[in-house]
Amino acid sequence: MLKLENVSKIYRTAEVETHALGGVSLEVEAGEFLAIMGPSGCGKSTLLNILGLLDSPDSGHYWFFGEDVARYSEKQLTQLRRGGVGFVFQSFNLVDDLNVRENVEVSLLYRGMGGAERRRRVAAALERVGLSHRARHLPNQLSGGQQQRVAIARALVGEPKLILADEPTGNLDTENGAAVMEMLTEINRAGTTVIMVTHSLVHAAQARRTVKLLDGRVVSETLLAA
């Protein structure tokens, strides 16, 4: 369903060329839970950005649910991303000036969805992450774990086909981290493709497959017998 074919990405400054990705080929099945691991600077984030339609490869092909999007314009990517991809970040990235409900709603705002439908979906998503009672709180009134749960609600409220999580447990303690992993696993079980970048072997073990990156290349793939 997601297919990368010989994808390269080079970052250039005036003096330095950095080969962030050097010919990565990777296939991800619909409904898969994939973990990406690797040391800092190995190209994990670049890979995630390309998979999430935030960035385009310099060469190679990327089939996103059947469409080759490698040469898509920013506008085309925006349209595809709208409702197609959900994001969860290590640092939560909630908007300080919006309350919990409004933060979750942002995912639905740019899709031309009716207000009633939006409210219904936001309520359902908050219910799913167990934060219905905090709907009117501002992010700074929540704990880190709660904030990440809001971020997960925001990612899944649009019912995307793909959720990308960039070290979702990196800023959380063990207990909250486990809860978040629990949630992601459950979302995956319900049929959503989840790709997660992590440094934690324990959390990676919850994915069905783990891909290891080094210097912009895939060096190993481990398939866990689920």
Binding site: N49, L94, D97, L98, E102, L109, Y110
Partner: protein
Amino acid sequence: MFRSALASTLRHLLRGRLYAAIAVFGLAVGLCAALLAALYIRSQYSFEHFIVGYQDVYQVTTITPEEGGHKGYSVTTPPQLAALMKQRFPEITSVSRMAFQGGTLRRGDLELGGREAEDAPMIAVDPDFFSTVPLAVLAGDPLATLALPNKVVLTREFARRFFGEDSPLGGTLEAEIGGQYATLTVGAVIDDIPLNSTRLFEGAGVFVSGESAWTRLYSYAHPPQATPQSRPRPYARTLVRLQPGSGPESLRMGLSELAQQLPDWSAAEKLDLIRIDRIQTDPNYNWSITTDILATAGLALVILLIAGVNFVNLLTARSGSRALEIGVRKLSGAGRWTLALQFVGEAFLHVTAAVVLAVAMTELLLPYVKAFLMADAEFDYWKEPALLGWLLAGTVLITLLAGFWPAFVLSRMSPLGAIHGTRLARARGGFLRQLLVAVQFALLVALILRTGATYLQRHFGMEQALRFDTDQVLILNTGCSPGRMAELRKLAGVLDAACSLPHLLGGEGASAGGSYRTGIEIRTRDGRKLPVALVVIDDRMLQLYGVRLLAGRGLTADDFGEGVRGRHSTRVLINESAMRVLGFDSPAAALGPYPLMEDTPWLSEGRSAGAGFDEIAGVVPDFSMAKANHRIAPTVFYADPQQFTTISLKLNGSDVPDTLAAIKRVWKNTRGRGGDAPVGELSYVFYDDRVQRMYYPMLAEERILGVMSLVAILLALLGMLGLAASAADQRTREIGIRKALGATTGDVLRLLLLQFSRPVMWGNLVAWPVAGWLIHRWLDGFAYHIDMPLWLFPATAFATLLVALATVGAHAVRVARARPVAALRHE
């Protein structure tokens, strides 16, 4: 979508209320300045619009050729013209004359006229005046009133001043004009004449029938039999009303032909027409109007620019902190224009608040500005849909201008950049912000320098450029009999008394030359003839004003005194300028016999001609007889007791009211004995007041500049605060790293203050040459001016820097003292 954007915007504003308030307040101040300026300028273009059908009313003007190819424009015309025009042009529906009428008006204890500074409130007008210039009638019938002699129409203001009521029909006033007395009866009251009509009525509000025998208008038509035609050419203002829609062209053509029929009319003079509402804005009739309007618009623009820069600055400094929100919204599929719209909307909220505040401030300040500028600006936006429309249009325009940059920059960020690489975007904004603050300070510095130069030049003009002592000098506009002078000198409070024509600053006849222009020429040593100014003085005049001779002796009793009645002195004093144009190298060389003029036929009529100026008795330094912007003319001083019209008194300064009363008593007792007519009241003025009045326009300019400078300082400091806030935000991490690596609070503080000083210093460097050039050009317009005050430049730099650093100092200290851990955790 809208609700979400509004929610985040409002909470963002609320969280940063201080900054939002600063941004809104700053912009409101700028807008208020612009509004006031626009209203003032608009009022200049609305003169006489209160007159019904003003579009068809014209004033006849006279254009006279002057030396150097210049033309003199005057709104006075020969009084015979009106009747001739009425006959000649069928398109004229009515033509009326008006002539300002001196004298005093009295009712009970209240008396108007008299003191020199006071406007004579009377105008004599033709009976049909109010059909040419219809004004709103409150009581009575103005046309019927003016048909009869000694009947008057009052404006409501004068009705209230004299009678304390709005329709004192049948009430009477006592008039005293050049020794004649008349009782005037009120026949009608009209509405007050608005301030934006000074060009036509010049503050007068008592319209007296031109049928009254004592008025100038009457005397033109009925010249007294006994004496020959009076010397000054008769004049009146002539107003015509044309049939609606018929332009002035055919009239203009016919006027030159008509002029040939006028007595005393020279072929070089031309008659012309100007629509009454355009006199105010025509530089030929109101020479300072172009400068006034340009300066007002320019100043307002500068203030608005500073305020606008400040606003954009604060808005972007604050919206930079919203990069995350942009990123999140973009990740959710928000398009670029959707986000741009959100930020433009945010700007719109700010601008709307600022406009509302500015409107309130304008309403509050308008009365003061009106009083200050003596202009009648109206701000009735609820009655004037167009004005309201302009306010709305302005709001939208400023929103687009101010909201465009933040909307453009912020909405362009890639979602990745917004979430991860925000530092880059903010750093770039930081440079622009520094640039904008530098621009603000450049404008501010230029304003301060210009204000400083105006202040210094005004004081120079009022004190040094005069070069004579005006302290405690009182001027009486009255004749100068020896008996009166002797009695005045005897008074306890009077140190000295002297006579002249005119007084040393020039009288009403003073024109651009610096004293009164006589058209009289002296012969230079190489045979050329050059125009000079003539001033008639007595033997004590120069001494009274503390003027010391450079060479020779002053005029003595030999030249002036009872013994020489009927004859003027042939010995004269000249000033340095005259000495130079005559061709002498030194004052001493100029002394002695010299045939300046063989005879002086223009002097006192009926006396023996043939007496010329044939000896230079002394040379005096140049001293200004007018404003410092006029070059001092070559001047000849001589004595002619027949011509004295002015007494200068040096007072000792104690018990001035008593002394004034004593002077008035002496004047009354000696009335009619000194050759002067027993005119109503003594007209007097303190010399310093006169100098003050002469420099009043410059003082007004200085005050406006000063106020604008203060506003600019305030705004620039607000901008500085914005810069400090954003800079601290930007550099927290850097400060953390520096401190972690061992930098002390002092090191960091120095770093921050240096950063804040940079835009101020750049602003100064940019402003100096520009302001220097402008000041140089401005000073060049003065014949006598200060040197370029170079010390003002570093002083301004120091002052702006000091104030700027004081503003951000507290902020910088707080940021610099933060613990490195807190700073590092910031990102």
